[in-house]
Symmetry: C2
Subunit: 121 residues, 2 copies
Amino acid sequence: MPSDVVNLADKLARFSEHWSPRVVAEVNDYQLKLAKFEGEFVWHTHEDTDEAFLVLEGSMRIEFRDGVAHLAEGDLCVVPKGTEHRPCADRECHVLLIEPRGVVNTGDVVGELRAANDVWV
Amino acid sequence: MPSDVVNLADKLARFSEHWSPRVVAEVNDYQLKLAKFEGEFVWHTHEDTDEAFLVLEGSMRIEFRDGVAHLAEGDLCVVPKGTEHRPCADRECHVLLIEPRGVVNTGDVVGELRAANDVWV
């Protein structure tokens, strides 16, 4: 059979680190990544790509310089490329990210929250 | 604010047709589509692209010529490009599809189940 089935809850149970996306599948040169958010991330920008956030469990917000997007379970938000943003979650939130292979979590910012890229779970 | 928040359940409530994907968001040139499956689709192939299926509610299977992938809620399966497959669902199943803009639901097959492409909800 050409394709495995991936269960998102099973994959989420395999890591606990916050702000450290794990790849679970690829669609051509795009990656689907699971991440656990808690606290405030860094303000950053992805200059070359949009980035989709789908909340699987919990709630979070994406702060923009001119507003805030509040996301609960089942909510989806696409941050347009070149748009400064800061993901935040008051309590742990589980998120599916959809973006091209090679996107680094902190975008244009280098700092302690920059996670290793292309790590699979 | 640069981005709207899309609730998948709200979008799913806005259409009832089976095998008729509706676009809810774009990530660069990729589309996220909601679909409702029930019954047996047609065998078909997407020669130029992978196609991701994420089950949001219910269960379904993807038949391949050499096996079957069974998907329940929270399960994800990527059909590799060039791979003949047939999605089926014994009861209505709600699915998130992730694939490049322009992908036609029946791939290489023209028939009554071919849906209009790029229809948003």
